[in-house]
């Protein structure tokens, strides 16, 4: 009996340990898979360096509050608080409501690469700029769900729109508007801050209602929420979306990059990987905008600078929070942060948008637009 008892105890103990070990192993395997998926390369080039040239009202911008930026070949579009500015041949031109723009404050921009048309989400509707002509859609003159347009994205002939009263889409061929809100989607809050569309899926970043996924072929909606609910803590790392308050989303190479005011997430369709200041190179968990380069690389526009993640290393570009001097830091996989000597930085720490022009970047900030000219090493 004693032996049996010992054996029973031992057996139970061994089983318990085995189960724990198995759980740890599964968890570790998941984490390995999640991080492994974003480590396709072993020899990592150092993060890019830029020389920043900044534009403000002094040199042609209509306003220093730049909400959005779009690179369109040699043209650069800047959505400001006081008009839509376009930079071409070293000259700025500004479109205003007099030209047909829906509202002076331009929050978001998207390029239809097939037609060359630019779509602008404003505080007063959605505008289409085509060959110099501006057609504007509002909640009064069209099927647009709301005049406050936070985000816009193009996929094929459909324009997907994020508004203060849900998402919607416009089929440019038929003219049909379709609205997405609490009545026909799992959206609880209808304050939609961002949208990213591809031919297969569309993602809506919903302020307070997580991330919504729409599969175009099936018409199916899926909702991704913070497993910890509205708690501002993370009980288990990489368990799911980092937070309910999603501010921006970027869907590229079948990978979802999601920004919140409490960190960022990467989702590959199966596994989540979250980024917080405490365990990544993010300069702040307060993220206004996110843009994926590909499955492994992304840019993060925060209230404390612009950050770049290459799958291993992080780089932060900003005027120093202490003295305002240009600053660039690099954080490697081991968490070691190294300053890089630079003489220029984005116009301001409060970064609201980014786009790519070849190797260069254009950065929208609260106090100007910045052109990051890639520097060769």
């Amino acid at each position: 009996m004693k032996k049996f008892a010992f054996n029973t105890f031992a057996t139970h103990t061994i089983l318990l340990v085995a189960v724990l070990l198995a759980a740890i192993a599964v968890s570790a395997a998941q984490q390995t898979a999640a991080s492994g998926a974003q480590k396709p390369h072993t020899a990592q080039a150092p993060p890019p360096r830029f020389r920043f040239e900044n534009f403000t009202t002094v040199n042609g911008l209509p306003d220093n509050h730049v909400f959005s930026v779009l690179a369109d070949g040699e043209r650069i579009w800047a959505g400001t608080e006081n008009g839509l500015a376009v930079y071409e041949n070293h000259v700025w031109k500004t479109y205003t409501t007099k030209d047909g723009l829906a509202h002076r404050a331009v929050l978001s921009l998207a390029l239809d690469k097939r037609t060359g048309d630019v779509w602008a989400g404003t505080m007063g509707g959605l505008s289409r700029i085509s060959g110099g002509r501006i057609d504007s859609y509002t909640q009064l003159n069209s099927g647009l769900s709301n005049d406050v347009v936070y985000g816009v994205s193009i996929a094929g002939e459909n324009v997907w729109v994020a508004t203060a009263a849900g998402g919607c889409s416009l089929n440019t061929r038929t003219g049909q508007w379709t609205l997405y809100n609490e009545r026909n989607t799992p959206m609880i809050e209808i304050w939609v801050y961002g949208v990213s569309a591809a031919q297969d899926k569309v993602y809506f970043a919903v302020w307070g209602s997580g991330l919504l996924e729409y599969t175009q072929k099936t018409g199916r909606w899926d909702k991704y929420e913070d497993p910890d609910g509205e708690n501002e803590i993370v009980l288990f790392k990489d368990q799911g979306l980092i937070h309910e308050i999603v501010t921006s989303v970027s869907y590229v190479d079948n990978i979802v990059w999601a920004a919140t005011y409490f960190g960022a997430s990467r989702y590959d369709g199966r596994y989540w990987h979250n980024f917080l200041t405490k365990d990544s190179g993010l300069p702040s968990n307060f993220i206004n905008y996110i843009k994926g380069v590909d499955a492994n690389r992304a840019w993060f526009c925060t209230d404390k600078g612009l950050a770049y993640y290459d799958g291993i290393n992080w780089a932060v570009y900003r005027p120093s929070l202490k003295d305002g001097k240009p600053e660039m830091t690099v954080r490697n996989a081991q968490g070691k942060v190294t300053p890089v000597a630079v003489t220029t930085a984005p116009a301001h720490n409060y970064v609201l948008g980014i786009d790519f022009q070849g190797d260069d970047i254009w950065v929208a900030t609260a106090k100007g637009l910045s052109h990051g000219i890639r520097q060769q090493r």
């Binding site: 048309d117 110099g132 099927g143």
Partner: protein
Amino acid sequence: MNRRFQSAMGAGLTSLAVALFAVALWTECPVRASGADDVDYASPLEVLLSPDGSRLYVLCQQSEEVRVIDAFTYAVIKNIAVGRVPRGISLSPSGDRLFVTNTWEDTLSVIDTRTLAVTATWPVGSEPSGVVEDRAGKHLFVANRISNDVAVLNATTGEEEKRLLAGRGSSYLSLSPDGGRIYVTHVYPNPSPHRTPPESEITVIDTARAVVVDRIPLHGVAGVFHLAFSADGRLGVVAEYHPKNLVPIAHLEHGGYFTDTLTLFGADVGQPVEIPLDELERYASRPFGVAIAPDKSRIFVTCEGSEMVTVIDVQRLLHFIHARPRPASGSFAYDLAASANYVIARINVGHDPRGLALNRSGSKLFVANRLEDTISVIDTHSNRVAATITLAGPKTVSAIRHGEQTFYTSRYGFQGQIGCANCHIDSTFDGITWNLEPDGFGRNIVDNKMLEGLKGTEPYKWNGGNPNIPTECGPRTEKYFWRAEQYDDATLADLSTYLRNLPTRPNRWKLPGREMTPAQERGLALFTRDTDKFGKPIAESNRCSYCHSGPKGTNQKLFDVGTHKPNDNGNLLKSAPLTEIALTAPYLHDGSAQTLEEIWTVFNPDDKHGRTNDLTKDELNDLIEYLRTR
């Protein structure tokens, strides 16, 4: 019975007989289901010459075929059947393929010019019109009149790659001589604020990239048709109307309610400039087709309503443009003395001249007379019609045909200025609001209406003031529009017959059969509902389906829907038919609603135009999706 009584009796009986005869004419004219009594007319709309000049391709809209004619002997080589109601025709740059757009079935016919057989029929956009292939043979560009865009097709497979935003009612395309640009015109003006001059554009497409790169504004212009280039590419010319819709039509007598103009652009003129074709008492009503002589000595313009070809001396024209101080607007449209400086001939041709083509040397000009089934051959040295090619078909003029000729001619208008088709382009509408009656500037503004499906929707006018088509088209038109010659009874009867029998084009939003999209079904439920969202009954007269009942969407009664303005004389309006309602913006009697949405989001604050203020935005969208199927 005294003589006076007998005389009065006789006069009365005569009047009764005349009246009965007129009624008989109105009521007994044949009714066609889809073209009926004049289905055999050819109605040539466009003409093209083969690159070697040996063949004339004639696009016949009514017989729905391309007639291939020997350009020297005028003998028929072959008739090639195409699709329903063709409108656009062009040759591939090599001349080996002929493209024809078929507006009523939304297809493109591809014809092999060696075999003269249709080798492919490709689906395209809504009401395809102009078509052109790029020099590289990579893309076909098709202007879609209903969807206001230009479809870019793979020129080999016909597969549509994308659509480019064009002007409203985009219809005609021209390739620049170097092939680098495509210029697109449109027949309805782009949306513009209420009571402002119409705005149109020439949409400029980069051929290689297949993107819109520019839009040349045409201020004050509505109704823009063909465009041509000089061979050296330095002069572009576009045919258009310049309506003066902000002043009462009483001003027809004061120098024109429309000016018929050309806009010139390109290196020869610098900034685009608009020039009139009219001169007092000699109007060039409704310019449509335009061609420039190979040596750039002449411009030829067909003028539909005036049934003539206007000939312009280019050297004198350029001298005028450069010598005269140019108005700040860039337009000489209001100078009716201008055309005497450059118009050198006005050549009478047949009914409703449309497309035209010059031979390679520029010595012969072929003009398609749509409502006469003839081709005028003009000797450009003498500026005279040297020959007339008569196309095979009926030799008699049916009532409908006569009515159509009456509709398109401007001969009845004061000094020949305008015809019905000025405001009802291709028998539709024009997208413009007008100040028709002589009751003061800005009073009783009215939106122009669609003519399709007119029969059975009386009374006419927004205030229901005209009980039937003969009244609408007879005394009212004569009084307010023509201010001149009156129709005789037979002509008025034929015109009425033509209008009653105007067929309605296929609705592009309807699914086959009785199927509906989910949004359309939800919209129909809202259209027919009798209780609001709060469960309260909606009074019968405030339901959509009450006033807009029946197959044409009108119960033909008058209502006050709360949309009258201080400048309107009354507040009762006839419930408007819903036929093809999606196409006919702006809306409401005065065109104050720019879109269907605005009818309810802006102009229905008290729910007098139907109970709608309980609807959510997505429900309103559903209602509109349903209305677009009407």
